[in-house]
């Protein structure tokens, strides 16, 4: 999928500002964690200390956008699993770019070039929906739970400084809005 096919070039260079949506102060509604969460980190003792030591960006406010009723929403997947079509350029270390997964790509052609070795890939090997639930979203449309599935989805490679991904995330936002997406489903790995 080339950028020119989806008109990205005309969007490059446009300044993109904050939309002016109301930002709520931090600490609005956070359910108290049940017993389960810390037990799951204890399930991965070799990784827990590393994971908890990773720096996380913190923000003064949480911007948020409203949307239409859920059963009418158009959903797109944003994955951080480093997915792309076989033959497409693999992700590299510190890669902040995304790959487009469009209607011309079969799920059978998706491969994963995420640089980290510290997560399970056997699930993806058995079922693409474990990280890219495109078939499940389509079934939810048939069930009337959501309105439609976007034509284009995007994958980033999660082992990158989030601040380095801001520009490409904003570019992806332009494309998502062009695709009339009203529900972005962010799926980590």
């Amino acid at each position: 999928m080339s950028e020119s096919d989806i008109g990205l070039k005309e969007e490059i260079g446009k300044s993109i500002g904050i939309s002016g949506r109301t930002c709520y102060p931090i600490g609005a509604v956070y359910n108290e964690p049940k017993e389960i969460p810390m037990a799951r980190l204890e399930d991965m003792p070799q990784s827990a200390e590393h994971l908890l030591s990773l720096p996380c960006p913190e923000y003064d406010a949480t911007p948020w956008a409203e949307g239409p009723p859920l059963h009418t929403r158009r959903a797109a997947i944003i994955s951080t699993a480093g997915l792309h079509a076989r033959g497409d350029r693999p992700f590299s270390i510190f890669d902040a770019d995304y790959r487009v997964i469009g209607p011309d790509i079969s799920t059978g052609d998706l491969v994963m070039s995420h640089v980290s070795t510290n997560f399970d890939r056997t699930g993806f090997q058995q079922d693409v929906n474990i990280v890219f639930p495109i078939d499940r979203l389509r079934e939810l449309v048939q069930e009337g739970f959501i309105g439609s599935v976007a034509d284009y989805h995007y994958s980033f490679m999660g082992a990158t400084d989030p601040e380095q991904m801001e520009d490409t995330a904003r570019k992806a936002s332009v494309l998502l809005k062009r695709d009339k997406v009203t529900a972005v489903f962010l799926v980590p790995v």
Partner: protein
Amino acid sequence: MEAEGLPTTQISLIRPHTEKIKPPRALWVPFELGRPLGEPNDPGFQKRVIRAALELFNRPSVPVLEDFPEDAPSQSIRGAGEGAWACPVSFSQEEGADLREALHLEVWQLSSWYRMAYVKNVRTTVGVSGLDIRVAAGLLADLALGVEVENPLPDTSWPSTLRLAAEDVKAYYMEAVTAQPGQTGTAKEITDWFWGETKAGEVLRALKEVALKSDDEEMKLLGSLLLVPRAQAHLGVR
């Protein structure tokens, strides 16, 4: 994206991270890394996860972080099932074979299982390097043994070529070993088997040591972080 007017909801795999970042809508799930939708080939379970995440759009205020209440079915057999899975492939080795020859024999012995897996899954995840699996395996063995060879991907750095070749070899092995119907090995059992009981795992551990001694910083990074998982680093060490 929210600032751009795009409503988002997300899966959270590491709750403490989400608590710090405070996105507007997040569903924490008790699943292992790499399985954000919980259970492969279980559409009903996956849709319960997705519904729970999408229903956060109906919450009256943000930020909201809720917990998905179910464990993935295969996670519930962890511990009790430890050691219950056995690799269905019986590797035989030739007397006196060196590491490269032993690796090639393993790749060959897995080939019919890999084909069976391809028919069963109607797909494969092998192919990030674009190399034939025998070429990828041979390349890893050559570099691990200190044999000088040409980079088959001249537009790619050596560390990247080796990383991509390693990903393909791992995928080949793990897809092959789950080809048989009824093979319910957990992710940990399969991964431990690869790193602890196969020549491929041995080759990659040897390659890690070679990479760590390199003068090239990218190669050192490959050795230190990008070849052997932390959870399996202790396996096969003699």
